[in-house]
Structures are given as C-alpha cells and as structure tokens.
Symmetry: C2
Subunit: 113 residues, 2 copies
DNA sequence: AGCAACTACCTTGCAATACAATATAGAATA
DNA sequence: TATTCTATATTGTATTGCAAGGTAGTTGCT
C-alpha cells in the first residue's frame, strides 16, 4: 500500500477533513480511510493521532453508546481544528502542485527546455 | 513553507525524478526544488538523502570540475533507482487520488450521501 | 594581502510520526 | 465456553527532514 513515510503529515490533515464532514470515531475513521483509497491504516496509527489532536485542542470528544459494540468516542473539530484543516489544505495543494510540475516535466523528457 | 512532515517520503522520490531528467549535483538540486515550488530545502536535508540513495544503489556519483566553484558530485540513476522512481510515481498518484477524493467530498459538504 | 560572499560538500543530533505489537474489554454468535 | 467483531489505548521502533555546525574552493572588492 501507500508507504508510511509518504503519509506523514498528510494523514493528520486527512483525519481533520474526515471529522469536519461529520462527527465520527476512531474505528470508523479507519474504515472511511480505506474507502477513500488510503488502504488499511493501522489502529496503532489512528488512536495516538486522535489523542494528539485532542491534546492540541484541534478536536473534542464525547462518548456515545453503540448498538453493536463498546461505546464510541466521537470527535468534532474545534475552531483551532478548522483553522488547521484550512492550513493543511493550502499546504497540501502547494506540495501537490510542486510534485505535478516536476513529474510532468519528467514525462516530457524536458532535457532541452 | 511546506511542512517538513509532509515532505517525508515524497522528497526522496522527487529527487530521483530530478536526477532522472539530467545528471546533476546536490547544490543544483536545492535550486531546482525551489524553482519547482518546494521552497528552500535545506542542504542538511539533501546531502544525507543523496548519500543514502547512493548507499542503497539508487544513484551513482562522479566528480566533475565546475568553472565557478569547488568540484561537483554529479549523480545519475541506476537501474534500481529507475525502478524506485517508477514505484514512487505509482504510490504518489495513489495517495494523491485518495486525498483528492476526500477533499472533494469535503468541499461538497457530503453529509447526506 | 585580507575579507566577504557564493558555491559546494559533509556530519551530528533532534523532533515528529506511522506502525507493529500488545493489552483491555463489551457485544454478538456459534 | 470460545471466537469474532467492535472499540480504545499504550509502548517501543524506524524513518527522515532539518537546524546547526564544520570544511573548503573561487571570485571580487578594497
């Protein structure tokens, strides 16, 4: 799947994005990430990340009963989290464009331009 | 600029891409990255990365005189390096599409779909 | 000659983070 | 009872970008 090193920094922003769409919980985020095409992201990745985001006041949590298992810890974005998500988006697009520039240039065999 | 965590994993592939276009050297790579929109990447990032790639047989080096300064260490891709670049490209596109899926979904305020 | 600025390379140590491995536990099912 | 799925959490490790520092050649200015 996608190499872990390539996810660094990106994953955090993506989780903010997922939470911004709708209040959700760790286990559910793992499932959503897989649906979006990130592959199976380990729970040992997600839970520490969520705790970190919570500690940094990017998200807040509340427990809710589930009908099919143990109770779930649902997260929502704080204002700080929304700002951070905005920030992530801008930076991601910046990087994404830089890489596109490079890869396009490469495909074009741009030796003499 | 682009957060350092977001460059992890990506930078290595990008440097392979730059070298694949044309034999080049560390200091020149720093300049090219800036032109492509990556911002000023520290030399303390590039040189260890190049040494690592060389040790892993992704690139090979030879020294050439420069007319304007100390002699330069020019790098080219090995076959292994080309494979690795191919690999990077595939994985980058995979990630890039996953993030796009997510960000588009978010912009669309997809609460009820 | 002396000095600054640019070019060019390298090393050390640190910080951030994805993840494997492991642990815990409730609920459903066989 | 045992297993599987759901669900959260912790510990330790590996990777890697980068700040900080060092070395050295070349050029141009004074």
């Amino acid at each position: 799947m996608i190499p872990s090193q390539m996810l660094k920094g990106t994953l955090e922003g993506c989780i903010l994005a997922i939470i911004s769409k709708q209040e959700t919980y760790g286990y559910g985020i793992v499932e959503q990430l897989a649906e979006y095409g990130f592959g199976k992201i380990a729970e040992g990745t997600i839970y520490p990340l969520l705790l970190r985001l919570e500690k940094n006041k990017m998200i807040t949590a509340r427990y809710k009963q589930s009908e099919i298992g143990p109770k779930r810890k649902y997260y929502s974005l704080t204002f700080l989290g929304m700002e951070e998500l905005q920030n992530f988006t801008v930076n991601y697009i910046k990087l994404s464009q830089a890489v596109s520039n490079l890869l396009d240039d490469m495909k074009g065999d741009a030796v003499d331009e």
